[in-house]
Structures are given as C-alpha cells and as structure tokens.
C-alpha cells in the first residue's frame, strides 16, 4: 500500500474509534446481554403461548397491510413530484414529510382526535395511522429514485414505440423496482416496531411485540419474557435488514446520474387535474390529523376553552417536561452529530472502513427503541455501572436512535466531493485537518444542519426507550402526554393535545429546516439541475 493510502487508511480507522465505542457500549453490549441472559436463563415456553402467537401474527399482518397502503398513498405523490414542476410543489414535499418526523405518540393522539371513538382501539385505526406516518417518507424515497431516471431514457423508449403505459411497465417500474422493495422493507420494519401509535390506538386487545415487551417488563415484572420477545423481534428485523441492505446496494449500482431534470411544466388539463388531485389529497391527508389536534386542544365536552393551553403555560410540571425535552434534544443532537461527522468522514478515507461504518451505524436500526431501553435497563443496573437514573442515559439512548439517520444525511454529501478536490488542497500545502476544515466542512455544512434537526426531532418525540428510562424528575413531553391521556378528565385531555400541538409546531419547523438545508431533496435537486 502506498504511503498516502496508508495515511488515509489510518486516519479512517482513528475516526471510527469514538462511534465504535459508543455503539459497542450502548447498543451491542445491551443487546448481547439480552441475548445472553435469554439463552442462559429464560424458558422458551412463552413462545408456545397462543397469546404470543396472536401478538406476533397481528404485528406482522398489520405491518404488511400498513406498508401496502402507505405505498399506495405515496405513489401518486412520488409520480407528481418526480415528473412535474408545479406551483406549491415544495409545500407538498415538505408537508408530506411532516408525519414521518412527528413523534409517534403525536400521530396516535392525532388519530384519537380525527377518528370517532367507535374506531379507537381498532386495527383500522392502527393501520391508518401507520400509513399516515410513513406515506410521506415512502413518497420521498421513491420520488428521489424516480428523479434519478434520466428523462431521455423515457424519450428513447417512446421513439422505439412505447406508449405511456408500456413505458411505465417496461422502463420506469423495473428501474424503480428495487427502490420500491427497499422502501417497503423499511416501512414494514417501522410499522412492525411501532410503539407510540400502538400504545395510543391499540389498547389491551391490540398489542404488538413492541408494546408487549414494555407491558411484560414494566407492568407485569416479567423481564425474562420481555427479553425473549426482544430477541425474537431483533432476529426478525435483523433478517429483514440483511435483505434490504442487499437490495439497496444493488440499486445504487444501477442508478443513472441526474444530469437533466425530468420535471416538466404541466401542459394539459388532464395532467393539471391529476397533479392537483394528488397534491390536494396529500395535503389534506397530512393536515387533517394535525388540525384535529389543534381543535381538541381547544375543546372539551362543554365547548371551546383555552383552559388546556392556560394550564400548560402555568403548570410547573409541564414546563419542566418541556424544558427537559429540549435540553435532551440539544444533548442528543450534539452527541449524534459529532459521532456522525466522525463516522461519515471515515467513510471517505477508506472503502473497507466505509463498509464497516455502514454496518455499525445500521445496528441501532435493527434494535427497536423499546429494546434499546430494555437493554440499557438490564445492562447498566449494577454498581459501579448503575446508570439507570443518570440524566445522561436518555440523550445517549436518543442519540443511538438518531445516529443512523444523521450518518445517512451527511455521508452521501461527503462522498460526493470529488477526490481531486481534496487532492488539489493537498498539493497546495493543506494537511488532512486543514483540507477537511476548508474543503469538506463548507460543503457539508448544510447537511450538518439537517442532521442536527433530525436528531433533535428524534429526541423530542422519542417514546419507546424513554418509557423505560425516564424517572419522575425527568419526564419528557411524550411521556407527559401519555400520562395525561391515561387519566380521565376533559381538561387533562386538552392539556395532552396542547402539548402534542407544541411538538407538532416544532416538528413542522424542523422539517422545513431540513428541506431548506438538505442537498438531496427532490426540489433542491431539481432547482440545481435547472
């Protein structure tokens, strides 16, 4: 190996140290502990229980149906955004991204507000909420891939005799196939491990593996049973992840470079109608639940009232919850972004390190947030490593969950910087650090803002791990909302909706921030192509 390559390889290895330690201590060790204790001490008889079979079956089929519906809702949005340039396009893209970034508990709360009470605690409510949660994300994933299809490929097919429908079935769909499959697997995983939505909308008769883990560990005191279910879930998600990673890597090899935008002006009434219908439908579907939260925060059975908001503004407990959540969010973004910078920069210097980082930062995705919370609880429970009550545990747990997202926002931007650019800096006398500071950092700065925003959003809305790790003096907003909703009383309900509205406002602000700064959103790419 040449001296230069050795130097870069060593730099890459050095940069991986901190992220590796972090994932090792807070993800791998807890998971290994769960696996170890389960296979050593736990009876597998729970897996023979009919109730558990029903829970696993319900978890699986509701995730499947939710995925199908989410993709069906995403398809028209992806089609419009990828193929047309229209007034309000950026609004559609940003608005449809809001549900995905909303705290899961807020989504659950929103559908409590939208649906009549007869539909609460039904599979229909769960599936609808899951579809709502994920359709914008699916539209972005598929829309982004669609945007990468060179428009002249469509033209080539047309000049060879392909009608619009044959063009779609023979060219567009095969090229999109792997992206659709990859997106489906991710959405399925998210629906499979959904927690906040199921807690709010599922009720006792609609448990999933995730809620059953919490229920067994924290309500029944059956930690062994909870760990066993956690192992089952990790094995299922791990297998899905291996499949989705293989499809994802094949897809990136086939992607054509987006040298010309395929977004055309709308030039016919029929197209205007289709785009209008899809856009208005998407906006309506996105905003209706959010409006329901606002209305429910202002209404009791006695009529309209500001009492909910008034008590939020004056309650010490609730203010403490607010400030705790924001402090944790700041801590999370600091930890996650710092680790993501190290991890992402390492991928640039060495290919083998890039592969290692990809696997390392994918591990937190494989382990659900509830399993992370459970793992931390059962691992760091003995002095001198009794960290269960530590104020740092929550931001650390949140950072674990946010890390994969932050890395995936920063890495593509760093990897897109042509090597000759850094080489030019080197030959002008800059060392590695100076090159990073003067070349990489200005280019990646926007993505850092997006990564920080998404890390903050993850922390603000995190409910799964928090359910295990909060104590009375450090309750976060989602935990407060859950507590308020579990008690009877109109005013308490309006307080819960008011707090949810606060989270909505911040989520909306964060998604607009991400869209402003993320270099890979469809509208930004189209603007740079034009």
């Amino acid at each position: 190996m040449s001296q230069a390559r050795t130097k870069y390889s060593n730099t890459a290895k050095l940069l991986t140290v901190l992220p590796t330690i972090f994932v090792l201590v807070f993800v791998i060790a807890p998971v290994a502990n769960i696996f170890g204790k389960t296979f050593r001490d736990v009876s597998l008889s729970l897996l023979r229980s009919g109730t558990i079979h029903e829970i696993i079956w319900f978890t699986t089929w509701q995730a499947l149906v939710s995925t199908v519906i989410a993709l069906a809702l995403a398809a028209p949005v992806a089609f419009c955004v990828a193929n047309f340039r229209f007034y309000g396009q950026r609004l559609v893209t940003s608005l449809t991204g809001i549900p995905f970034i909303l705290p899961s508990i807020v989504v659950g709360v929103a559908f409590l507000g939208v649906l009549p009470s007869t539909l609460h605690r039904t599979a229909f409510a769960l599936i609808l909420a899951h579809a709502y949660f994920n359709f914008g994300f699916a539209a972005r994933m598929i829309g982004n891939r669609w945007l990468q299809i060179h428009p002249y490929l469509d033209d080539a097919a047309r000049t060879l005799g392909a009608s619009p429908s044959r063009l779609f079935s023979t060219i567009t769909l095969p090229i999109l196939q792997r992206s659709i499959l990859n997106t489906s697997l991710i959405v399925f995983t998210l629906c499979f491990t959904s927690y906040g939505v199921v807690r709010m909308l599922g009720g006792p008769s609609r448990s999933t593996i995730e809620t059953e883990i919490f229920f067994r560990a924290m309500q029944l005191g059956d930690v062994s049973g909870a760990m066993l279910l956690s192992v089952v879930q990790i094995l299922i998600i791990g297998s899905l992840f291996v499949v989705s990673t293989r499809f994802g890597s094949r897809d990136s090899r086939r992607a054509s470079a987006p040298t010309i935008s395929r977004q055309r002006r709308i030039d016919s009434t029929a197209k205007r109608f289709v785009v209008g219908l899809a856009s208005l439908g998407a906006i309506g579907f996105t905003t209706a639940p959010l409006l329901a939260i606002l209305i429910r925060s202002l209404r009791t059975s006695a009529g309209f009232t500001l009492e909910g908001w008034r008590s939020v503004a004056t309650s010490t407990d609730l203010w403490r919850g607010l400030s705790t959540s924001f402090v944790y969010a700041l801590g999370t973004l600091a930890i996650a972004v710092l680790l993501a910078i190290f991890a992402s920069t390492a991928t640039v210097f060495d290919e083998r390190t890039a592969a290692f980082i990809s696997v390392l930062t994918s591990l937190p995705i494989v382990v659900s947030s509830v399993s992370i919370g459970l793992g931390v609880l059962v691992t760091f429970d003995t002095p001198p490593i009794d960290w269960r009550g530590s104020q740092l545990m929550l931001p650390l747990a949140h950072a674990m969950i946010a890390l994969p997202l932050a890395v995936r926002m920063i890495t593509p931007v760093l990897q897109s910087i042509p090597a000759p650019l850094r080489q030019a800096s080197s030959v002008l006398g800059a060392n590695t650090w100076q090159t990073w500071r003067n070349i990489d950092l200005p280019i990646v700065r926007r993505s850092l803002v997006s990564a920080a925003a998404i890390s903050a959003a993850v922390s603000l809305g995190e409910f799964g791990a928090s359910s295990f790790l909060v104590r009375q003096n450090n309750e976060t907003l989602p935990i407060l909302i859950s507590r308020l909703l579990s008690r009877p009383g109109d005013i308490l309900q309006t307080q819960a909706f008011a707090l949810s509205m606060i989270l909505v406002v911040f989520s909306v602000a964060l998604i607009f921030l991400i869209d402003t700064f993320d270099d890979f959103t469809p509208t930004n790419r189209a603007a740079s192509d034009a």
Partner: protein
C-alpha cells in the same frame, strides 16, 4: 420523405429558432451542422416527437405528424449519450421495439443476432450495458434504432467523444449501414469533415431559418 415546415421552437418561453424548414427525400442522407447551443439537438427531438413545437408542421411521407405522439411516428433517434436502458442487457436493448410489437421470440433472437453482426458486436447479446466501451455502446444504440425499422433515422452527434481511430471506423461503418439500407437520415454533427464524409447534402442550422 421528411418535411419540416416553418417550425418555431421555444425554450423557457423564448424562441430558440423561428421559421425553420427542411426537406429530406426518401433514402437521402442530410447532415446538419451548427454552433453548440444553436438548437440542433432540439430540432431532432422535435422531429422525433419528444419535444413540442410552438408553430409550424412536420410531415412524414406527406402525412402531418405534428400532433402525433412519438411512439407512433416510427422515427428512430440515436441519442448523443446513447440512453441504453440500464436494466436490460445488450440483446434486450436491441430487442426492445420488437417486444413492444409482440414479435415471437424466435424472430426476435434472429433479428437481434443479425443486428449485432451488422454493427460488429457478435456474441455480446447477454452483456450488461454498463460494462460496454464508448464505441460498443454507440453501436448498440444504432442497432437498437435500426431494428425498429424507422422511416427516418435521426443521429445526434453519434461519433462525439470517440478517439480518432474509432471515429474513422465508425463513420465508415455507419455510412455503409445507412446507404445499404437506403434509410432516410438526418445526421447532426459539429464536425464539418464528418458531415461531408457521410452526407449527400450538408446544411448549417441558420441556413434553414428564413
């Protein structure tokens, strides 16, 4: 026969060219030259039907095809950057138009083999198009267009970016292919020597604008 009558084409709401007319007789090879950005590629795309015109008309064998969609015109277009379908092999790319017409598999196989032999790429039918050299990709793009049996063949700078040796060879091969089959051809290039070598008539774009 291809006739372009007084067409005006706009780009970003401004005229790119106005009142452009051109006639190509059956079996004739016409070369079109012009400065970069003058609209040569756009003209080809309008004739093929993948770009719309603001005014004027396009006739093919005396039939007005101005408003006819691209997939019905039977006008072949070889793109500057080939635009081979990345998810299909060499053979599948060439067979694309035949599959759309629901030609039987045996005939498709024979026609693809003939086309590959014609362009000097025998035995490459199963090759992944992303692993083709520049010259090979160009030949596949030409074969794909020819197999569709177009009434008119449009070539958009087909030899652009090739090294001089390959350029000379492909120019000779392409010229022979077109002449042997008597295909009405409009060949766009910025290379005057190439234009004179391949064409019966050579025009500069601005000569066509009245």
């Amino acid at each position: 026969m291809l006739e372009v009558r007084a067409i005006t084409v706009e780009y970003q709401s401004k005229p790119l060219f106005t009142n452009l007319s051109l006639t190509i007789n059956k079996g004739e090879v016409v070369a079109l030259t012009g400065a970069s950005g003058s609209g040569k590629t756009t003209l080809l795309r309008c004739i093929a039907g993948v770009e719309s015109i603001a005014s004027g008309a396009i006739f093919l064998d005396h039939k007005d095809v101005t408003n006819q969609p691209a997939h019905l015109r039977r006008i072949g277009l070889v793109f500057q950057d080939n635009q081979l379908f990345p998810h299909l092999s060499v053979g599948q790319n060439i067979a694309y138009s035949l599959k759309l017409k629901r030609v039987d598999k045996k005939t498709i196989r024979e026609r693809v083999e003939q086309a590959l032999e014609l362009v000097g790429l025998k035995d490459l039918a199963s090759r992944d198009v992303t692993f083709l050299s520049g010259g090979e990709a160009k030949r596949v793009a030409v074969a794909r267009a020819l197999v569709a049996e177009p009434r008119v063949l449009l070539l958009d700078e087909p030899l652009n970016g090739l090294d001089s040796q390959l350029h000379a060879k492909l120019l000779k091969d392409l010229g022979e292919l077109i002449r042997d089959r008597g295909i009405t051809t409009l060949h766009v290039t910025h290379d005057q020597d190439e234009a004179r070598a391949i064409a019966d008539r050579v025009f500069d774009l601005h000569q066509l604008i009245s």
